[in-house]
Amino acid sequence: MGMTMTQKILASHAGLDRVEEGQLIMADLDLVLGNDITTPVAVKEFEKAGFESVFDKGKVAIVLDHFIPNKDIKAAQLAKTCRTFACSQGIDLFFDVGKMGIEHALLPEQGLVAAGDCIIGADSHTCTYGALGAFSTGVGSTDMAAGMATGKAWFKVPSAIRVEVTGSLTPECSGKDVILTLIGMIGVDGALYRSLEFTGEGVGTLSMDDRLCICNMAVEAGAKNGIFPVDEVTLAYLRGRTARKPVIFEADPDAPYERTVQIDLGRIVPVAACPHLPSNTRPVDELSDIKIDQAVIGSCTNGRLEDMEAAWKILKGKTVAPGVRCIIIPATMAILREVVERGWYTDMIDAGAVISTPTCGPCLGGYMGILAEGERCISTTNRNFVGRMGHVESEVYLASPRTAACSAIAGYITCREV
């Protein structure tokens, strides 16, 4: 029997000809990632276990993004632990204020991910890089510590679900509507422990930003990773960003898939995930009686240039509804720079929005837009669990940047320009 794309990448990194579902392997890592919340825990474990140096200074990335610039004294201590460790270890890939960005937007943008890589990150949305044809998955801080020390991680080889994509998206829809629709179909544990492998002729119509957004939320279906085949779109994205040669793995024609889910992109409509689960999706058109207090456009899911553009197109020349706070957070410094350079920044401010420097901020209820009791937010982030963005009695609706911007103008949830 053949292997899935994910299984082939894992086999090659474990030095094996083949692997099978359920097999436990030790795989070599191309990159080990941590952020300002998870790295300090990993550093503590690393030091406690008596390791002295990281396995490869060029293959450990530490990105400060959750509470940066330091939001309070405790966050400052966390960041300091990261800085001290990065400095003493001579880690090249250390991203602090000024070079910062949300990790999962930053690493691909900086050319630190190549097709065929095997990557772990102490952050659940590390699965984002599957968009580039890499195997990447979220782990905890202990895994990060072990990965930094040895350059290896243990994995249980996953089985896979094939997502066969046909057609192309209508202009009102983006990758976010695709992944929310899929999670609505299969549930928050619909892909538990499994890979989500995207295939089909519709894949070629999806932009890299759409694919990054789709793979980003694979974990919201419980998946170990999401992955796209490497095509012209991938190679064009990698060209000029990384000198490393992409290694292209393809699923065998007889690869074992547990099931196949069909998605016709042409039939996707704008959807939002209602509180308190990402799988609780409804067509946006059914939610117009829901008033909002805040709109957040950003995060590792939707803080990229196409997302900023989608929001800008709706906001320019309009005014954010009275009583609504519209918070826009470009995911990296490079994206922020583009937003300024293209004049979108001014148009967004004129519309009554505020723009933050890159950070996770409100996505995890950190800062820059915390919700009070009873408040409701439409957000382009990826989780709407109880208390995720603030008070336990606040509510988060997940949607695309276009829908969030339309809602900010209208004052209620909508994907129509009013």
């Binding site: 474990a14 097999q23 030790m26 825990v41």
Partner: protein
């Protein structure tokens, strides 16, 4: 290895944001963090939990973020085991890596009631509900994972050079 204690019971999809809300993630002291364990869904938990107690839950326990703080605070709170119908993937590996015993058992998760007294034998995977006098067989861990658990977590086991028996360590 075994544990015995009373049961705290929860539903499906208990996520890491309720196990330990992100607003506390700037705290680095585990004991201080653990004081907030479960507070968004059950304020009683941290007041009443005692050494060896057991959390029983439905599908997909620990879904959400990769924060290792989640299994850490459960372990720190004194709980001796989490039994669930299934675990979210990262929570599962984090629990293994830090040495918090977790067991998958659908039947036990359905039949054990809140407040029951249960006894768990990790060597055999047998869960006994002392209150209702029922027993359940959970799926035992594969040997590689048992070795990590028995060494007290991944890093101690790495130091002891434990590698997967059927694995492809190619060094």
């Amino acid at each position: 290895m075994q544990t015995e204690g009373k049961v705290f019971k929860y539903e499906d999809n208990v996520d890491t944001d309720v196990i330990i809300p992100a607003r506390y993630l700037n705290i680095t002291d585990t004991a201080e963090l653990a004081a907030h364990c479960m507070e968004d869904i059950d304020r009683r938990y941290i007041r009443e939990v005692a050494e060896g107690d057991v959390i029983v839950a439905g599908w997909n326990f620990g879904c959400g973020s990769s924060r290792e703080h989640a299994p850490l605070v459960i372990k720190e709170s004194g709980a001796g085991c989490v039994i669930a119908k299934s675990f979210a993937r990262i929570f599962y590996r984090n629990a293994v890596n830090i040495g918090l015993p977790i067991l998958e058992c659908e039947e036990a998760a359905d039949e054990i009631r809140a407040g029951d007294r249960v006894k768990i034998d990790f060597d055999t995977g047998i869960i006994t509900d002392v209150t209702s006098k029922k027993t359940f067989q959970s799926r035992p861990f594969p040997p590689f994972i048992r070795k990590i658990m028995e060494s007290g977590g991944l890093l101690p086991s790495l130091k002891a050079a434990a590698l997967p028996e059927d694995g492809g360590d190619n060094t």
